[in-house]
């Protein structure tokens, strides 16, 4: 295997494969996931959900359920609305907002929407009681596609809107029609994408503890965003926010799905109503039915090319299906805007226009899932380049090369406003091709075709904007950190990030250890409690290595400065002569003048204490708070609407070799390679782990994972038997090579990189399958490429179209 690594020289802890500290408790079965929590007197919540996609709730009778032994409370939406409010928006940018409650009040808008909830002494009894709740529905016609939602006279989800359009927006950076007319050739393509999602193996869960006397609510929750959840819960429940506490310890996967409260509100309502502790553990079918879901869009693209194959203009219409809600329950519709701004991907594009339409339908709410629109942009442009190459008669790798942003152009500002910090797409494509031995493969492919076998190779040049700063949104753009040195020299970092498996408990310790010249073992990373850490925003948009890391670095540097000041004072040396090395302050050239951080800590706090230790004007502590904000965010649009909201931009080239079985329609992946670039790497094995995991999720989306609804709005994939997430047997090892091009916009040159695998892999797989089926002349469109979709295409082509 050709694995190339080109990286900076490793000096401190950053860049090393430091094994993760949290592994021990997780491996030994002593993780602290929310469902592991069992508190005295705790009740268990079960939720009755609408069997209809669209139905008015005419009558609910809970009396029989309430009378059952062990049942403590049964709550309907109307009752809950008597003491709580609707869900506030999670995002509000040019969107029409709805008014929705965690338990439906008058109408259910998707199959699986909560209509009543039970609290009982155990889970079994709570589930039993659901059977005894009587609900009379008036079933309404459902809309389940973008087309149906936009049709004249379509049933309306929110009658008060007068339409099913949640978002209508556009931008135009020049005269795109004139540019297309002046182009030597014009390529049109329709690029649809189906609905799928993250399905963390730990579904959602809550343990809500209500103290009626103090009026305080403590919510243990599986979440990526404890602070935003606290804000959203407080507003929904009508509690003062400073009386609400959210705690998240170990979180069993997030992938963007766990950023808000929706189902999580229900056990809180029951806790307030009963004055008891209430646990809710979401089942897999509830998780699949109630979301959040992602993708589900169709993109019409018309692109102009010059005679030498350069993209001259792109005119596009993007329509997305947000399900019943893409703003309040979760923020899915905003992904369409991100997609719009990143449409050009890895390429030069002089003129661009887009019209975006986000509609609501009777499907589960849409939210973030490893990509949040960046996946939409990369998938669409990488499919478009493939389709265009075929139409222009140019090899697709050659068409990519002719249009790539060049390495000497960084930082590169695109036509829509984003500033790409660093990158080298041509080299990453070359590396991926080298890893797959591209030219030799073409020979092998030819031989295989002679033998009736269908092998294909495909690439996708990925752009992963990371670290968003979105105005009017829970995805805002700052992050705090507190670094605290104790009297015996131990270091604590308090961060607004949350460890959801991506390893920040270890990687942040590496970063702080380097700044203070100690070991990661000396640094404790604290997160996941809104009463302990400052208001921070959590991990999403791959923002850990931009916002989280940079805040930690700044806070650590402030503490380092303080340590040096105290040391200079105590050792009576000019501060310029004192340096920190090996966990001690040392006066240069005077070996005996050395104080460890522990010596300094003891001196500052207690032995003797500050009056003779700390220089005048300095506070008596070794603690600092820092906030990091991006130097390149621009929220005020120019006259055509360009903006800059992402700070770092990892790049990669994904390459795959596949074989399609013409008898079964089964796609077998032979090789998957990722030539990857994400700036300074903090922990290579963590980075490779993120790439491998994301890539397999992307492969799953391309080949099998699907949330398919029938015309009546019944979800057909309500368990892992029908929601086909890849198993170990379905995928090959993911091979990774690195190029390290530090970002100029972050203190360490790091770039956030958690989503790229899921962003880049789908287009590479689809392009490879299309290449495999090229002898049959099959153009792929609908996803996923499951046997039931591919086989009819193959059969039809074999029978001569």
């Amino acid at each position: 295997m050709a694995t190339t690594t080109e990286v900076s020289q490793v000096q401190g802890w950053v860049g090393r494969n430091v094994p993760r500290r949290q592994d021990a408790r997780l491996l030994m079965g002593h993780g602290r996931y929310v469902d592991d929590l069992k508190l005295p007197g705790m009740l268990y919540c079960a939720v009755l959900r609408s069997p209809h996609a669209h139905a008015r709730i005419v009558r609910i009778d809970t009396s029989r359920a309430k009378a059952m032994p062990g049942v403590v409370e049964v709550l309907t939406g109307a009752e809950a609305a008597g003491f709580s409010g609707p869900m506030p928006p999670t995002i509000n940018i040019a969107m029409t907002l709805n008014e929705s409650y965690a338990i439906a009040v008058d109408k259910a808008r998707y199959q699986g929407e909560p209509v009543a909830a039970v609290a009982a002494v155990d889970r079994y009894r709570a589930e039993d009681a659901l059977e005894e709740i009587e609900v009379e529905y008036e079933v309404l016609p459902a809309v389940t596609t973008i087309e149906a939602a936009l049709a004249e006279g379509a049933p309306l989800l929110y009658e008060e809107w007068g339409t099913n359009v949640e978002l209508a927006w556009g931008m135009k950076t020049g005269d795109v029609d004139a540019a297309l007319a002046a182009s030597d050739s014009v390529v049109e393509a329709t690029i649809p994408h189906h609905r799928y999602t993250g399905t963390a193996i730990e579904a959602r869960g809550v343990v809500a503890v209500y103290d009626a006397i103090d009026g305080e609510l403590t919510v243990h929750m599986s979440t990526q965003a404890p602070h935003q959840c606290r804000t959203l819960l407080a507003e929904t429940l009508g509690l003062p926010e400073h009386r609400v506490r959210v705690i998240a310890r170990d979180v069993g996967g997030g992938f963007g799905n766990k950023l808000q409260v929706d189902g999580e509100i229900v056990p809180c309502l029951l806790a307030i109503r009963t004055g008891r502790t209430v646990k809710w553990t979401e089942t897999r079918s509830e998780n699949l039915r109630s979301g959040v879901h992602s993708r589900d869009y169709v993109w019409e693209m018309t692109g102009g090319f010059s005679a030498d194959g350069r993209l001259t203009a792109l005119k596009t219409q993007l329509a997305g299906d947000a399900g019943c809600d893409g703003t309040n329950r979760s923020s899915g519709v905003g992904a369409l805007l991100v997609a719009a701004y990143y449409t050009p991907g890895a390429y030069h594009l002089p003129v661009f226009s887009i019209d975006v339409t986000g509609v609501v339908t009777n499907k589960a709410p849409s939210g973030a899932y490893r990509g949040y629109g960046k996946d939409v942009a990369t998938y669409a442009i990488e499919r478009f380049m493939e389709i265009a190459a075929r139409k222009l008669g140019v090899p697709s790798d050659e068409l990519r090369r002719r249009n790539f942003i060049q390495p000497d152009e960084y930082p590169y500002t695109t036509v829509t406003g984003p500033i790409h910090d660093s990158g080298d797409h041509p080299r990453l494509l070359a590396t991926a091709q080298q890893m797959l031995d591209h030219d030799k493969f073409r020979q092998r492919q030819e031989e295989a075709r002679q033998a009736g076998r269908y092998l294909g190779i495909g690439y996708a040049s990925m752009l992963e904007p990371s670290g968003a700063a979105v105005p009017n949104c829970i995805f805002n753009g700052y992050e705090p950190a507190i670094v605290r040195v104790s009297p015996e020299g131990g270091v604590t970092l308090l961060t607004g990030l949350q460890d959801i498996g991506q390893g920040v408990e270890t990687t942040l310790a590496q970063v702080v250890a380097d700044e203070l010249t100690v070991s990661p073992e000396d640094v404790k990373v604290v997160y996941g409690d809104t009463e302990t850490v400052p208001y921070g925003l959590g991990p999403w948009s791959s923002r850990g290595a931009s916002y989280g890391v940079s805040a930690a670095v700044l806070a650590a540097r402030k503490v380092k400065e303080k340590i040096l000041k105290v040391a200079a004072n105590l050792m009576e040396a000019p501060i310029a002569d004192v340096e920190l090395a090996g966990g001690a302050a040392q006066v240069r050239g005077v070996p005996e003048k050395r104080m460890t951080i522990a010596d300094i800590g003891r001196a500052v706090y207690l032995w003797p204490g500050p009056y003779v230790t700390v220089p005048e004007g300095e506070e008596p502590s070794l603690e600092a708070t820092a906030y990091w904000t991006s130097p390149i965010v621009r929220w005020i649009p120019d006259e055509v609407g360009t903006l800059s909201v992402y700070t770092t931009h990892p790049t990669a080239c994904f390459g795959t070799i596949v074989e399609v079985d013409p008898q079964t329609g089964q796609v077998k992946l032979e090789r998957v390679v990722v030539a990857h670039e994400c700036g300074t790497i903090i922990n290579p094995m963590v980075v490779d782990g993120q790439i491998s995991g994301g890539t397999v999720q992307g492969i799953g989306g391309a080949l099998g994972e699907e949330l398919r609804y029938d015309e009546a709005g019944n979800l057909l994939n309500t368990g892992f038997m029908t929601y086909l997430a890849p198993t170990a047997a379905d995928v090959p090892p993911i091979e990774v090579a690195h190029l390290e091009l530090p970002s100029p916009f972050t203190p360490l040159g790091t770039k956030g990189m958690g989503e790229g695998g899921a962003i880049g892999a789908p287009a590479a797989v689809v392009n490879a399958v299309e290449d495999a089926l090229a002898p049959l002349g099959i153009a792929l469109s609908e996803l996923p490429l499951s046997p039931d979709r591919l086989l009819p295409l193959i059969r039809r082509a074999q029978q001569g179209g």
Partner: protein, 178 residues
């Protein structure tokens, strides 16, 4: 119903409703919360435990069906705070991220390694097809299983060794790795 079973070598007698799942008995009644539930139809494998040495999805078995059995859960793997060689291999290979599926995969691995089959990348992948992981993409899990096999004296085949090597991403930088 009153049932008896040995769990991680300790004998237990418990009263349990006939409809209670083994997973719920372990988690709720006995406080062994290392066994996780990720689905309700036996597909994800997070709840895998060993019942009389056999990998068993504890969400698909009633507690009463395990009456008289020897049950092993993830809590029984380590000795004190010393990791079992399978756990150590997972730690070193970075074969876990969120860790939620990990206990089931560790137990499935233990059952796999107790079998006499020759191990290759493909065999390990097939043997773990009953355990879903959404974080790792399996690359490092397969690597860890093959390394654990070696640590436990299960000499992998040449193909297995090649697979372990092929899945290993070279560390970044000349001095990487502490």
């Amino acid at each position: 119903m009153r049932i008896a079973m040995s769990i991680n070598g300790t004998d237990h007698e418990v009263d349990v409703d006939a409809r209670v799942l083994l997973a719920d008995l372990l988690r709720d009644d006995l406080g062994l919360t290392g066994t996780h539930l990720g689905c309700e139809d036996g597909k994800c494998g997070a709840c895998t435990v060993l019942v009389d040495g056999q990998a068993t999805k504890s969400c698909m078995v009633f507690a009463v069906q395990a009456d008289g059995s020897a049950v092993e859960t993830v809590e029984g793997l380590a000795t004190g705070t010393t990791l079992h060689p399978i756990q150590a291999a997972f730690h070193e290979a970075h074969a876990l991220q969120c860790g939620f599926c990990t206990p089931g995969i560790l137990m499935a691995t233990k059952a796999m390694l107790a079998g006499g089959e020759e191990l290759t990348d493909a065999r390990v992948r097939t043997a773990l097809a009953g355990n879903l992981c959404r974080c790792t993409g399996y690359t490092n899990i397969v690597k860890a299983v093959l390394e654990a096999a070696e640590a436990l004296g299960r000499e992998p085949t040449d193909a297995g060794k090649a697979a372990a090597k092929a899945t290993r991403t070279e560390p970044v930088g000349a001095t990487a790795g502490q």
